[in-house]
């Protein structure tokens, strides 16, 4: 059996890639993808601990998170469409008209 630490390290790595994408990208679609990565990192943790403890609650939660991620993408895509309609681009640094 693969020790739990490996799963945790994998999850942390995926999460950090997601955070890095969030901080460095300007494209809204890439934002959305980064967020998906972070959510999946959490999912890996849930599944790993579920397996580790022999308890299905964590896996059930993983299903919930997937449903949530789908919903989040639906909303996110909607936001990106509006963003494109207003600024003719999907660059998040353009949408600064409501600052201050």
């Amino acid at each position: 059996m693969v020790p739990a630490e490996w799963y945790l390290i994998l999850a942390a790595a995926v999460f950090c890639i997601g955070v890095f994408g969030l901080l460095t990208r300007q494209n809204a679609l890439l934002f959305l993808m980064s967020v998906e990565l972070m959510l999946n990192a959490a999912n890996i943790n849930l599944a790993a601990f579920s397996y580790y403890w022999g308890n299905v609650t964590g896996q059930t939660f993983g299903l919930f998170v997937m449903a949530l991620a789908a919903a989040e993408v639906a909303v996110g895509i909607g936001i990106i469409l509006v963003l494109y309609r207003n600024f003719s681009a999907v660059d998040v640094t353009d949408a600064t008209t409501m600052r201050w």
């Binding site: 955070v19 969030l22 901080l23 460095t24 300007q26 934002f31 998040v92 640094t93 949408a95 600064t96 008209t97 409501m98 600052r99 201050w100």
Partner: protein
């Protein structure tokens, strides 16, 4: 008593006429016949009839002191009665006498207005009669008030009405400014009055004039050590004097006493019937009446009495000297009014309660007469008031002349006209109390008496200077040669008042009574009030005399034959009249007063009192207000603005954090999370 049930109507009838005229004024001039005059005449006639009924009921030995309407009741502290603010009537000899004076003069003024306003083709008459109606109603309400707060409210209403009526011809430049001046100057005095009213309620918990729980009675009991009231840390005598002087501020403003008399001569800008009403029966009389109404309170404060006497005597003299040089007939009368009310104040201060009331009564009639007579002359002269353009009107308007002469003899104080008896009694009271009282108080009374006595000479002079210039000698202008005729509505009121000015003095001929040992001092007896009514004992002239002679006040009368002082004042008055005759009585009079040079200028400009009051306002009050404004703008507002500018500045900097870049927000969230994790790590001991 049926009369007392109808007594509120005395006040309400003129008020209804005010509402009727007001309604008419909103719909134009010619809705009502005679511009609303008839409503006013009917209403004041009704008031007069009811007042007479009340008078006869009072003379049958009934008095009335009831609350009619309680408009608010406060929550009383433990063990104390709740403070009540009420409207109610006090009908006793003093107020029932005053009711007749006010309603009679108001009625005659309404009738006279038919001749002075309607026949002269004035416009805006409903507005005029609405003002007259409200004026009469407020004064009548003031007279019957049974507590000082109600009195104060009607006192203010009287002031408002005088403002409206003095400024009746508001399209000309003079009247509005005169109205404003009258309003502001009297209001200045009324501030003190208002503070005094609050002080009375705070001290005694009641503002009632009469009854066991009234403030004059309570003050008396406090000084006798029977009850205790909150005197705010002062000795009771001191505190009562302070309160009395505060109320006196309103009196000095309304009764045009020095130094707040400056509004009254300017008030001559109003229509002449209004002047008659203001000077004889309403506005100016209100102040003196208020002192008489609460005389029990003043009678226990020798300091307040001394102030009243001194102010009164001084005003009587100063105003009389100013009347000597005036050119306009109404100006002379204005200064005579100030002077005569000075006499009343002198009498009240010197312990002559009956004398003051007597002079109030006779003065109301002869001054109303003189103003209406002057109005008649002004009609005849086509609204030229300068006496130097008149002359010789005696033969051309005999009714006006003879009635005016009756009033002038009364004003000058020539026996047997009304003014002689009352003025003589005023001076006699001042003299005997001055001689009989020890110490500084007696001296003050004697000084005030000397002022008053000297004023008698000036009064005789300016009165007959006016009569001779107006009616005697040769006509000096074409208008005086062919004056316009006046109708019955002018002559009627003049005739009624002319008779009254001649005979009113007979109600209280003290010297004659003493000389022949007769019991004819009817006014004295009237003001004693009916026997056997509980609250009247504290309102009777007899009781006031007891208070004055008590140890608290210590005013005593010396034994003195009334003939000698009476003779002296009569001689002085005759000397004044004689001088006026010698200078102005014949043919073509010269302007002798011009020879006075600088003195004439000084007197003609009223001792430059307007100027010094304006100077005080401009040099003292204005810089003070500016300094206060500056302190407010820079000091108080500076602190507030300083505090807010810190927030403003820091806000304007901190808000830069909100860049609108979603990446920055994400970075901040990540940073925050990292900081939090590190902090927890250090705190929880996982790291390090």
């Amino acid at each position: 008593m049926a009369a007392f049930d109808y007594a509120p109507a005395i006040v309400l009838l003129p008020f209804v006429s005010f509402l009727v005229s007001l309604g008419a004024a909103l719909y134009g001039d010619d809705v009502l016949p005679k511009g609303g005059a008839l409503a006013g005449i009917v209403a004041t006639a009704g008031s007069l009839i009811l007042s007479l009924w009340v008078f006869f009921t009072v003379s049958a030995g009934n008095v009335y002191n009831q609350t009619i309407y309680t408009w608010t009741t406060g929550a009383g502290a433990a063990g104390e009665e709740a403070l009540e603010l009420t409207f109610g009537l006090l009908l006793d000899p003093l107020s029932s006498m005053m009711l007749i004076i006010v309603s009679l003069v108001a009625l005659l003024v309404h009738v006279f207005s038919l001749g002075y306003m309607n026949d002269e083709g004035e416009t805006g008459l409903p507005r005029y009669y609405a003002g007259l109606g409200l004026f009469s109603a407020s004064m009548l309400g003031f007279v019957v008030a049974h507590n000082i707060l109600m009195a104060f409210m009607f006192f203010e209403l009287v002031g408002l009405c005088s403002f409206l009526l003095i400024g009746f011809w508001f399209r000309e430049p003079g009247p509005p400014s005169a109205a404003k001046k009258a309003f502001l100057v009297t209001r200045f005095g009324d501030y003190f009055f208002l503070v005094g009213v609050v002080a009375i309620f705070a001290t005694f918990g009641t503002g009632r004039f009469a009854g066991a729980e009234s403030f004059p009675v309570l003050a008396e009991e406090v000084l006798a050590g029977e009850v205790a009231v909150n005197t705010f840390g002062f000795a009771p005598t001191t505190w009562f004097t302070v309160v009395g002087l505060l109320v006196l501020g309103g009196v000095i403003g309304k009764s045009a006493q020095f130094p707040l008399h400056t509004w009254l001569p300017d008030a001559m800008e109003g229509p002449t019937p209004v002047s008659a009403l203001i000077h004889a029966a309403t506005m100016v009389a209100a102040g003196v009446y208020l002192v008489a109404r609460m005389y029990g309170f003043y009678a226990v404060s020798p300091t307040a009495l001394a102030v009243i006497a001194l102010v009164g005597g001084f005003t009587a003299l100063v105003a009389a000297t100013m009347g000597v040089v005036k050119r306009e007939i109404k100006q002379v009368l204005a200064y005579s009014t100030i002077s005569q009310y000075g006499y009343m104040m002198l009498a009240l201060g010197a312990g002559g309660y009956v004398a003051a009331t007597f002079h109030l009564l006779t003065h109301a009639f002869f001054k109303a007469l003189l103003f209406l007579g002057a109005g008649s002359v002004i009609i005849a002269m086509h609204h030229n008031e300068n006496m130097w353009d008149m002359g010789g009107l005696k033969d051309r308007m005999p009714v006006t002349y003879w009635t005016f002469l009756s009033g002038s003899l009364a004003l000058a104080g020539i026996i047997p006209f009304a003014g002689f008896w009352s003025k003589d009694e005023v001076l006699y009271e001042a003299l005997v109390h001055g001689l009989g009282t020890d110490g500084g108080l007696g001296t003050i009374f004697l000084v005030a008496y000397a002022f008053g006595l000297l004023a008698v000479f000036f009064t005789g002079f300016y009165t007959f200077r006016m009569v001779f210039l107006t009616f005697h000698g040769d006509a000096r202008t074409g208008q005086a040669r062919d004056p316009e005729g006046v109708g019955w509505n002018v002559k009627g009121p003049l005739a009624v008042l002319g008779v009254l000015a001649a005979v009113t003095g007979f109600v209280n001929m003290t010297p004659v009574a003493d000389l022949f040992d007769l019991d004819i001092e009817y006014l004295h007896r009237w003001l004693e009030g009916p026997e056997g009514v509980e609250f009247m004992s504290a309102l009777s002239a007899h009781h006031y005399l007891e208070l004055l002679e008590s140890d608290v006040t210590g005013i005593h009368a010396a034994e003195l034959d009334p003939l000698i002082p009476g003779g002296v004042s009569l001689l002085l008055a005759l000397a004044g009249v004689g001088l006026a005759y010698a200078l102005y009585g014949r043919g073509e009079p010269e302007e002798y007063t011009a020879k006075l040079g600088g003195v004439q200028d000084l007197l003609y400009n009223n001792y430059y009192q307007d100027e010094y009051q304006v100077a005080i306002a401009e040099r003292v009050v204005l810089p003070l207000s500016r300094a206060a404004d500056k302190f407010d703008q820079s000091g108080v507002d500076g602190v507030v603005n300083g505090v807010s500018s810190v927030s403003l500045f820091s806000g304007s900097r901190v808000r830069r954090v909100q860049t609108g870049l979603v990446s920055n927000y994400a970075a901040l969230v990540t940073l925050g999370l990292t900081v939090l994790l590190v902090a927890f790590g250090i705190y929880g001991g996982w790291l390090l």
